[in-house]
């Protein structure tokens, strides 16, 4: 078990570990979204000074790919 996945988890009906997908889901889909300037380069595309909501959409697209790969175990 990785350090990141050692956080406690409890299945009320049956125990199981906190999964990588749960961690990624939390990190990517929760938290305060702020409006501001941002510089990021993602998947070879430079995105400089764009609205944060715009870049988050792009990141979420990338993460859907991650999730799809993780679900099939190709990134673990």
């Amino acid at each position: 078990m990785s350090e990141a996945s050692s956080q406690s988890a409890l299945a009320i009906e049956g125990d199981s570990e906190l999964s990588l997908l749960e961690i990624l889901d939390h990190v990517l889909n929760s938290g305060v979204v702020i409006h501001g300037s941002l510089v990021i380069s993602l998947a070879g595309v430079d995105l400089v000074y764009v609205g944060l909501n715009v870049i988050l959409t792009s990141v979420e697209t990338a993460l859907r790919n991650i999730n799809a790969h993780a679900a099939t175990g190709t990134l673990d």
């Binding site: 009320i12 990190v27 990517l28 889909n29 305060v32 990021i40 998947a43 990141v59």
Partner: protein
């Protein structure tokens, strides 16, 4: 240099964290009534520019929040929130300081647990699949009744240990969020363990998490 924001907390002493996203130093500063945590990210392309790198960075981000959560209650920023430089930090905080102060007061001393309900029979079909209007309404009513039954049980058994509940319907599941005072965590978990199973539904608990679902006042989200 771009800075990646982790969270804001009450203006408590800084939590010492060795490294953060992209192995960068985690810095913090008290300003405008809150403490803010961030890292300077020198090369965003190598750090966040591929799915694998982004996944690694997301896990590092999670680890930073987890370390902070051990000591105090953070309000995290959505990953990856990047500002152009640390000079923009105070400017942003100045514009949002009331929001952060109110949210920090609301969640102070508490953590969040998630409970996801998955129905095991075929009646809880994919709510996005096309069905007749009558069938759709029937399924919605059945789902609402099941959710209400589980919610009643959850709230009943944990009444002494939860400060606030929120919930939302997802495509095939229903997710509840419990805001639990730190001192009530053990009793909360014990209550759920002792609650017994609910027929036809699997409940999965995870946490503790930063209380992100409780940042907005009730009614503004979820």
């Amino acid at each position: 240099m771009p800075v990646l924001l982790y969270c804001v907390t009450q203006p408590t002493p800084a939590v010492d964290i060795a490294t953060g996203v992209c192995d960068a130093m985690v810095e913090s500063r008290e300003m405008l009534g809150v403490r803010v945590y961030w890292s300077e990210v020198q090369d965003t392309e190598s750090c966040l520019g591929s799915p694998e790198a982004l996944k690694q960075a997301a896990l590092q981000f999670h680890n930073v929040l987890r370390e902070i959560l051990k000591t105090t209650t953070p309000i995290p920023f959505r990953f990856p929130t990047l500002l152009e430089s640390s000079e923009n930090l105070e400017q942003h905080l100045a514009s949002e300081q009331e929001l952060y102060r109110e949210a920090l007061a609301r969640v102070e001393g508490a953590v969040q647990y998630d409970i996801v309900a998955t129905w095991t029979d075929n009646d809880q079909a994919d709510s996005a699949a096309p069905v007749s209007g009558r069938e759709y309404l029937k399924r919605r009513q059945q789902a609402a009744e099941r959710i209400a039954a589980v919610e009643g049980k959850l709230k009943g058994v944990t009444a002494e240990s939860v400060r606030e509940w929120r919930g939302r319907q997802e495509r095939k599941t229903y997710r509840w969020f419990a805001l639990v005072p730190r001192e009530c965590r053990e009793s909360f978990l014990a209550s759920l363990r002792g609650a017994g199973g609910s027929e036809g539904v699997r409940l999965r608990l995870s946490g503790p998490w930063p209380p992100s679902e409780f940042v907005a006042p009730r009614g503004e989200r979820g």
